[in-house]
Symmetry: C2
Subunit: 246 residues, 2 copies
DNA sequence: AGACGTGGTGAACGGTGTTTACCAGACTAA
DNA sequence: TTAGTCTGGTAAACACCGTTCACCACGTCT
């Protein structure tokens, strides 16, 4: 009777094994240096077998990206250094940097790699990430209400500016573009500190970054929407994963 | 008589053609989607011919990276908006962001791509980049002397913090990790502004980022030197280009 | 017991970076 | 002029890659 159920379980187990093998290999060798053949060899299946679990290498990435976001959201944030609401905000964004250190390959997959397939707009993994963002906004708003930032400061601006600044430090470190002997943590802390002080000095007042209040910062495929960029209209080349239809 | 000279010229012309073709293809298709075969086809040579001009695909990258730094240094900086020394500093670092927009593929090659070969420490292209950095430091020091930043502010800290913050904005934009509808220029300006205001408020005083005062922020191969990192010692996987000897 | 369906396979296709044996033609020296 | 050398370029091969497809064996259902 439980035949279908057992088959289902077995399918899931193999899919799990594929993801585990892919993750392990990605962590140690980097995404695009890992081949379907290597994954297949690791799980002792033929390369073709993988294609009955995932339509393409792209989709293995999608599944791992979802795991990455789950990891980012579910990892508990280190408690702030003091009761100062500034430190509360600092701890929240610092979480982003810590994640880039503790899970570098997930971070690279999710936020850096340009050779990785674009996540399509209607991706199921959106909801819980949006939830997290809402929580962050609320806590920032509370800090503003307590007077940690000048009245009129945009919580969204605070969020984006701090994440952007830390993203710079995280990517410089992760992509080995630090200066010789420079300490990534020190640079990250200093950059975050400067941005925080600037926001305390009023840089987030009347600062409208949100033109639409939409999604989260992942590599979304916006190709169908109007390209509303600056002076250099469309110089940015479309970089995609290797596919045959090129 | 001038035979050697003519041969030399011809060699150089072909090398130039290879680099031009590679650059054009990289700009439109992205670095790792371009094959030696495609470059060879473009210049109407056999793939093997390229290997008598460049030892590997890696070295074509090195040559292009050198061109990129040359481009970054030689492009004139947009004049500052006012006589305020703050605007002078702002204009200098903004140059970095503008470069990420006007030459996205060079920027990605030089500062983002983790799949690109590491530049070895004893690379000839160092000198003139170091020169540029010295000039920037001097201009920042002048701004400090004029009172634009608090006395005791470290010019090196100003430089690194501002570049790091802008690097975040540039990479978020370039890697398509902006929020939906967000304007890259607005985010970049806001982040830079916040960091500048923070430094004006004293975030750069007693801020020692330079442990060694060494190289420039490119992907240097530090493999021979002691890895002096933070809490997660060596989690960062070594990501290298596809090679057979792996 | 026999038909059916599904998961897995080997082999292939068209691509990749790189190496190698070889050749035609330009140059040089006798 | 002729013989020899040196060199730039090539075709073919090697060992990979992502992906597809015809096929087969086995478990399941009738």
């Amino acid at each position: 009777m439980g035949v279908k159920e057992r088959q289902e379980r077995e399918r899931e187990a193999v899919a799990r094994a594929i993801l585990d093998a892919a993750r392990d290999l990605f962590v140690t060798h980097g995404y695009h240096n890992v081949s379907i053949r290597k994954i297949a060899e690791r799980i002792e299946y033929s390369p073709a077998a993988i294609y009955s679990y995932f339509p393409s290498k792209d989709d293995i990435f999608f599944a791992l990206a979802a795991e990455g976001f789950q990891l980012l959201v579910s990892t508990p944030i280190e408690p702030p250094a003091s009761d100062d609401p500034i430190d509360d905000v600092r701890a929240m964004v610092w979480h982003y940097y810590v994640f880039s250190k503790s899970h570098p390959e997930y971070f690279a997959l999710m936020f850096i790699d340009r050779t990785v397939p674009r996540i399509t707009r209607d991706w199921q993994g959106f909801a819980f990430v949006a939830d997290m963002k809402r929580q962050l906004h609320e806590r920032i708003q509370r800090a503003i209400d307590k007077g940690a930032f000048p009245a009129g400061t945009s919580p969204h601006a605070v969020f984006r500016i701090l994440v952007t600044a830390l993203h710079g430090a995280a990517t410089l470190r992760l992509c080995s573009r630090m200066e010789h002997g420079e300490d990534g943590d020190v640079l990250a802390r200093a950059t975050l500190h400067a941005a925080l002080e600037g926001l305390r000095a009023g840089a987030g007042v009347n600062c409208h970054l949100d033109t639409c209040h939409g999604s989260t910062p992942m590599n979304i495929d916006h190709s169908r929407e109007s390209a509303s960029s600056g002076a250099h209209p469309s110089v940015i080349p479309e970089v995609r994963t290797d596919r045959h239809d090129s």
